[in-house]
Subunit: 340 residues, 2 copies
DNA sequence: CTGAAAGCGCTTACAG
DNA sequence: CTGAAAGCGCTTACAG
């Protein structure tokens, strides 16, 4: 039905090998004369090689699979979109196609695992698997070349890339403490996410450095979501004023924007009454009523690293170890010196 | 390297044909006895068929390609995400894999066209091509089975699915006019989008029905973006109060939320001073300072229709004609009777 | 510089 | 009910 390499060969009076050589620029050289003739026929017949046949033959589809959990649009986490975006751009640069695998929950990904290793993709990038998900372990077991973004694992044959969570959270917490705040709260995301525990560590270390007593550094677990930030902040605001934190650090921008909304709904001001910080620097951080002081994740760097490391793995170069990239403190309007 | 159907055949002492029969449940029957033996070997060797080889043989990858333009995360249009989401869910239901093709601009999609028809995908879904983009025409020319979402085209071999834009805009405009408003403005999106012209038609028809004079129904072109809605509304608010519209209809929720922000920044109230309506019912509509009255697009229906129509085409069933689904008026807090 | 041939891992008429 | 064989459309040693 559609034209094949065989048609081109026949029409230009050469073998299909020769057609393949000119199409791929190798592995054998072809005389300029023949090359020209073949190319003319290719154009005339509007021929396009079949990627599937090519893939089967070369055992390489030049396609990267991306696994992440299903996002309900209403609870879209911009972090995922931002990372995804960084990865897709990098794929384009590296001439790789991409296939998205979406599931509602991480426990569904395990059942779909044969999809991930059926030859359609050369390798897999997993975005943000929680600690209690063994998908990555299973991929490693099947020897599927895998890169993980958003979690550092000590898994052989798996490369991880992430921002330096401990340091980043440490930096922004110290920014807050340097402003004179002495009663602070940390609103975390889901505790089964490594980013949550790592950022908590960074927060605690900063509080240690500033000798903040335990009772003045509250850590409140929740979800990486606006409503979760809102609810927890409302609870905090019920504390007697002398016990209430003057600064709230959130482990992402969504939580922070919820915190800001709660503070304003209670008739208080950000940052004059209470300072708030975020993490990620996604759209929420700027769109929020009060532009949020936050740690910027270098999404295009993260995506670029993920893709290029995966490609290295596919090329058989044994690149071991994880990639940690720094985050950047972005100071906006949601932080100010502690009220007198 | 990895185990193939040949390994299974050898290990279970049958031919590869037989292995294929039990794997696919056909086309030939296999005795329960042999079936059991083969399956045992499959499990023992953890065998997974190679989808690429299968695809080449069957000339069907069970994969749908999705084309849309690159979204900069900061100007993310939730409409695209919502449609995308609807399509991905439908793909899962129909056991289809999906490949995303992203480009920055529609004029880049034409150059990538050979990617779209290289056998990797069985068919293509295009989301929201502008009027002046001939990608769909080119796909049709190459006989690539194609479904378009968000634009109705009279292109042979192409199926289109969209919401009933004229009626939907007509409905929400009449909602506003029924509230007594007699000076209204329409803030549209990019005029090269069919949705823009269609919604303008619906708006005008409603104004006609209510005999609104031309000078009291302003149509202002712009972009489907929050900042564009903000800027145009600010301009409108410079009008002398007696000429100023008491209701602003936007052709999407992003524009509407910009309009609301502008109105509030000018110290006016929504809806008491000015009513505002949106379109789409995406996250913006609820997250906005004032929950927006809008037309809800049935995203999962749109996605489901797109996928099932494409699959019908792939099965050779000639389904012609376009699919129009209704939108639903969602009344929230941004509309109220005209101020006395 | 060019070509005949084997092979990638499957599916599926065709024959028994 | 089972198998031998051709074929899907390419790539790439191997030979000339």
């Amino acid at each position: 039905m559609s034209t094949t390499i065989r048609d081109i060969a026949r029409e230009s009076g050469v073998s299909i090998s020769t057609v393949s050589y000119v199409l791929n620029g190798g592995p054998k050289p072809v005389s300029a004369h023949v090359r020209e003739r073949v190319n003319a026929v290719v154009r005339r017949l509007d021929y396009h090689p079949n990627a599937v046949a090519r893939g089967l033959s070369r055992r390489r589809m030049d396609t990267l699979g991306i696994i992440y959990t299903y996002w309900d649009v209403n609870t879209t986490d911009f972090y995922f979109l931002s990372v995804l975006h960084g990865i897709l751009s990098a794929c384009t640069r590296h001439k790789q196609a991409s296939t998205l695998f979406t599931s509602r929950h991480w426990n569904e990904t395990a059942t779909a695992i044969s999809q991930y290793s059926d030859g359609r993709c050369d390798g897999i990038i997993v975005i943000g698997p929680p600690d209690d998900c063994n998908l990555v372990h299973q991929l490693a077991e099947r020897k599927v070349p895998t890169v993980v973004v958003n979690t550092m694992l000590e898994q052989t044959h798996v490369a991880c890339v992430d921002v330096d969570n401990v340091n980043a959270m440490n930096t922004i917490t110290k920014h807050v403490l340097s402003l004179g705040h002495r009663k602070v709260a940390l609103l975390t995301g889901e505790p089964n996410m490594q980013s949550c525990s790592l950022r908590t560590l960074g927060f605690q270390a900063a509080c240690d450095e500033f000798a903040i007593p335990d009772e003045d550094r509250r850590v409140i677990e929740g979800q990486y979501r606006t409503d979760s930030g809102y609810d927890r902040t409302m609870k905090l605001l019920e504390l007697p004023v002398e016990a209430r934190p003057t600064a709230i650090c959130a482990t992402n921008d969504a939580i922070a924007s919820g915190a800001i909304a709660a503070i304003m709904d209670r008739g208080l001001r950000v940052p004059y009454d209470i300072s708030v910080t975020g993490f990620d620097d996604v759209a929420d951080a700027k769109m929020c009523q009060v532009p949020i002081t936050t740690m910027r994740q270098p999404f295009s760097v993260l995506g670029g690293e993920a893709v290029s490391r995966l490609i290295h793995m596919l090329n058989g170069e044994t690149v071991v170890g994880n990639t940690i990239v720094p985050a950047e403190l972005i100071i906006r309007d949601s932080t100010a010196p502690r009220p007198a």
